[in-house]
Symmetry: C2
Subunit: 362 residues, 2 copies
């Protein structure tokens, strides 16, 4: 487990290694105006080419932010929530947002039909993205399967890369992964077919290979397309409630999904790893260790918006005045309120889906 | 060089090896009604799953024949002519013909734009196919770049194959080749999306890997699609005028293109390798060896339609009464007439292009 600094000025060892190994820029919240919660708190920890985005914001020049929906499962996870929060942030800073529905990917890898993928996206995933904060007025959507231009780019991009480059980036190469990756590169550059401009892709760090491949392809096709290199911004994983680095579907008891039955969620929260001491006496004496506490991490990443309140929780824990039992009770209340709100926003959003802007293709 | 038997009942060693190595069926002209010139003469030498096609012909059931156009160069070659002759044959036997214009492939590999590829296809390649015998009334055309369904199949097929399988079939694997191959598999199966039926793909033997991959994909997607396995039929290469197995662009003096300036063609014909003996006396005494003669091979594959005339030429050569000088003069006359006819048919065909049936995609 990485150590956690509540104000995010220092990177944990693990994320520090990632920054170095992947050649990322460490994220400096002062780079952007009015950084959002996860930017301020060091949950957003790195990026690539962030300066062109900062410049575009400053000079009020055109830029875009892009993300995708994989319309398979009937719920999303907290990582998605962070992506949306960053998309929302850049929307507010003036970006045109693109959301592609990866129905081709869903159909090919999960065996759902394109029709079923479309239905799921409209019924759940798009409303969920709106419920998590996406601004529908500043967003255009498209279905990957309808976007011939993306498919044309994918075809062309496949011709520009070698198997060894692909292996170097992904560690592994097979036809399916190659097809997905070049199609994603097509998606990421599609907004620039109209006009070249900076674009930012908020992702979890596990998605960085797609960013690197896309940037390589941009370099490789410079003479023909002269695409502006894409920028990216990375947030940490929402840690598993058992203290591991990342929530994982393979351990359902340690991950919370959106939506999820609140009883099940609260049970998981109650079993979460905290920074409590061996005994009550010791904790009252030494204070707790919020840096090791998954409940505190959930506060920081998701549940407590107000920095002052988060700070107070941190101090009370450290002081040994806020004990784990009480704190978990509080956290459950936060979570219940969050989940209630998500579910009701989801209902509201479902009614807005037919008013969204979908790109239409001839 | 392979030995050549004018009536094609025996395979040369090289082609025999290919049949064995690739697991092909040796072609038996008695399998099909009214075999065409290249079928009768053993130029068509092998196939895969030819029986379902023979059955469809016999029972007048639906089947299709498919070929593609690579709209890059401004001429075609004699190999293309043989493909078209086989397409024409199956059209006459009741097949629906599909001709796809591989504009995506052209754009990605040859750097021509999709617009330019389309223009070239309409200006030259499609008219050339008509001039070579394609029946426009029984053919539908489409541009690969417009056919979303093919691209969807390609995406899905990429997920069904492994890198090792690809390498086993093609000897090499890279993203560009993979993309081309799965797209071609999509093209080959597109006609079956409407209804499952046998389909035959006439190709040169060098294209067999695409057929094998497609057949593997059919097996791999059986539970979802249940495509009828595609059939294929193979013709020999048009040999290089210098006696090598295949005409090659790297040796322009030994290949003839369509169209090509007749002076240049005749010069090449005059330098062609023949089956002549060391001296005139010897040739008159022993006769020539048409099996070794590239002029005779051009007769057999392309220039002499009538079996009786071909037979007479064969016998006269063997008897030593038709000598190489005279024979080359005759061949030049055949070639001149063929090329004149091709050029004028090309002009006629250009005027028909706007009346062809192109599949329109929403």
């Amino acid at each position: 487990m990485q150590t956690i600094d509540p104000w995010g000025s220092e990177l944990s060892e693990d994320y520090g290694k990632i920054v170095q190994q992947f050649g990322l820029e460490e994220f400096d919240p002062k780079l952007f105006p009015k950084p959002n919660r996860i930017m301020r708190r060091g949950v957003v920890f790195a990026g690539r080419d962030l300066k062109p985005i900062a410049d575009a914001i400053k000079k009020k020049e055109k830029f875009y932010v892009l993300t995708g929906i994989m319309p398979t499962a009937d719920r999303v996870h907290f990582g998605t929530k962070m992506v949306i929060e960053n998309v929302r942030y850049f929307q507010e800073m003036g970006a045109q947002a693109y959301v592609l529905i990866a129905d081709l990917e869903a159909a090919a890898t999960r065996g759902v039909s394109l029709e079923e993928a479309r239905k799921r996206a409209l019924d759940f995933h798009i409303p969920a993205y709106l419920a998590l904060g996406l601004d529908p007025k500043k967003t255009v959507f498209y279905f990957q399967s309808e976007n011939k231009k993306v498919m044309h780019l994918a075809f062309e991009f496949a011709k520009k890369i070698t198997l060894n480059e692909f292996k170097a980036i992904y560690g592994i190469a097979d036809p399916g992964r190659i097809m997905s990756a070049v199609t994603q590169a097509g998606d990421m550059l599609f907004p620039q077919l109209e006009s070249r401009m900076p674009g930012i892709i908020p992702v979890g760090i596990d998605q960085d290979p797609h960013i690197r491949l896309c940037r390589d392809i941009i370099a490789r096709t410079k003479s023909k397309y002269n695409f502006t290199p894409i920028s990216s911004i990375y947030h940490k994983f929402t840690p598993s409630l058992d203290g591991e680095m990342k929530m994982s579907k393979s351990k359902p008891e340690s991950m919370i999904e959106l939506p999820e039955d609140i009883k099940s969620v609260l049970k998981k929260m109650k079993n979460a790893v905290t920074g409590g001491r061996e005994s009550l006496e010791l904790q009252k004496k030494l204070g707790g260790e919020p840096e090791k506490c998954m409940i505190f991490e959930m506060y920081k990443q998701h549940l407590i918006e107000d920095d002052k309140i988060l700070d107070a929780v941190y101090k009370d824990c450290r002081a040994g005045t806020l004990l784990c039992g009480q704190n978990k009770q509080n956290a459950c209340a936060y979570m219940e309120s969050f989940m209630d709100n998500f579910v009701s926003q989801l209902e509201v959003a479902r009614k807005k889906v037919d008013k969204l802007k979908f790109i239409e293709f001839k």
